[in-house]
Amino acid sequence: MPNDSDDPSRTGSSSCRADPGQEGMGRRELLKAGMGTMAALATLAGVTAPLLSLRDGPSLDEFLQRHYTQLTPEMMEKILARIEHEIAFRYGVKTSVRDYKPIPDVEFAYALNLNRCNGSRRCVYACMKENNIPLDHPEQAYIRVVELDNDSLDLEEGNVLYNHDQVPQEGKYYIPIQCQQCRKPPCTKVCPVQATWTEPDGVTVIDYNWCIGCRYCMAACPYEARRFNWSRPKFEPEQINPDMGYLSNRIRPRGVVEKCHFCLHRTRQGKNPACAEACPTGARVFGNIRDPKGKINFILKNKRVYILKADAKTIPRFYYFFDR
């Protein structure tokens, strides 16, 4: 190997740079240092070149935005206006984005009649339309319907990709699965930045402007209810539902997690969720579990009710029941 220790210019260079009191470096050293700096700058330019085509980076306001619970009403007004503006700019659609608040003394719960569900997936399509889920990403839908043999309760024997001309198939039954809105949600517990939490009306929500996209909540969910925005969603303007909620169906940015939120932009205004409205068989019952005379409590008292993965002790607000 070459030994450079005899090279006088080298020794000179390192000593004089180390000690600023000395005289300037040799020409050869200057040239070397210059070339080195050029190479470093060229490398840096090459590394960061793709960033020039970044189109959906955060604005300064978005970057500095606080956590949902720290926002004053005035701040929220500005944020909603900004989001409307962004959607108009990116998708060319005029929308209304509102921050719907929980209704006092209301706790939402869902009950689904497994005898009635016929596996038509109408709820899935209605959900996608309502919640601005791109139609070319069916796997992103918040609801998945599992087809099972009548003699089985084991989800691992089920099929979520069934594709028949006619439903229901002979000898099969269907379990639609979406966020179970647990009373002890494992997902909110693990989030490192509290970007997901349970609201007073029992809906677990996500602040899409706070989520850092670590996907720990997806690993934690025992129901596979959460989806990630692997890319920026693409829409034709006419596919977009313009009635949006900040914590619910507004168009999500790339890189954050989303899931079913019981259509809170509808349900907090007294309407049914889109899936319940779309169900052709009336299998889906949505209501306020704190209303003792409500439909949900009638079902809980009178039907054979069960919950998914009871052993996980997540205590869902989503119930499945049998009529007969």
Partner: protein, 422 residues
Amino acid sequence: MLRDYIVFLARAFVLSFSGSRLFYAWMALLTVVAAIGGHVFCRQLVDGLELTGMTDQISWGVYIANFTFLVGLAAAAVMLVIPAYIYRNQDMHDVVLFGELLAIAAIIMCLLFVTVDLGRPDRFWHMTPYLGKFNFPSSMLAWDVVVLLGYLLVNVHICGYLLYMKYLGRKATPLFYMPFIIISIAWAVSIHTVTAFLYVGLVGRPFWNTAIVAPRFLGSAFTAGPGILIIAFQIIRYYMGYQISDRAIHTLRNIVTASLLINLFLLSCETYKEFYAASSHSSSARYLFFGLEHLGHYYGKLVPWIWTAVLMQLAAGIILIIPPVARKIVFLNIACVLANIGIWIEKGMGMVVPGFVPTPQGTVVEYAPTWSETLICLGIWAFGLLLFSWMLHLAVPIMMGKFSFRDRVGVATEAESKAYAA
């Protein structure tokens, strides 16, 4: 005082850019690979994580796999720290710093692997306490950030302080580093335990939801880390002229042997439980070792990998438990390489991916890293090696007394050139 330190930094900067041609070639190669990784990461910033092979079903992949492995490497420094500082083993005392420098490089790689896995790295600041909304103590990921950063700081302090004192030619004051050494021992165990708890604490993933993960992680970490250091010591000895005794290497060999056997034992405990008492909770292990049949399709991408990992560790174990063979440096090196690759597979992809298969809704989806993911991983590994090489490039001359305060004019290059000429 401050002026001396600034001069030290300036001289260290100059020394960083002077070395033999081999040094330049090595650093240039690593820079190129790291730069390619950086370029692909910038693309991922623009296009999103859709460039990866991850899906809603398998939402963590090779980034988190490498992260898990590297936390182990970082924790393994403790296997040098305990003999060196607690038992006052002189052989270990001469090399313990290399272990701590490796820990620093490994932690920085860990943090990079977490960063490239984030959907929104621009929101990293949300984790800052007070400024953001740090979910501590509830979230294990929050714990992990705390322990990793803490471990990084402790090690940077220990290495920085000891090296600077050596540079000044002063005796280090135990009060300024011994308390941190003690902290670092407990802390090393904690970083890997917390990383294990990250997986263990998930009720919906029975493959991870088992108490044995943390002990397994420690067993494999104390195999992999000292194994890499055995090889690193030989490279340092050969190329940098720093005397490392064979006794130091064979002390590490004993540690690797014991840890590897413990790791294999724990692995067999886990497989016994999964397969003898095969419940629906064993599906992930079945997928990992034998593949799964689902709706008429066979899924088994990980099967050849895990068996390779098991066989490599077994082979390494056989070499290591026959002392006359293991004492031969060639076989020892082979065993260390086999054990490290085996563990990288087993606790990397072999740990992360099966946890997601089958999914909680019972579907089976497979995962394979894409080219961009692979290049980003290679880039981070190259960057970590670059960092480790750079730290050694500065630390070794200081430890040999060739880069010191006394001869601060003109002598630095002489020292390095002697150190790096083969």
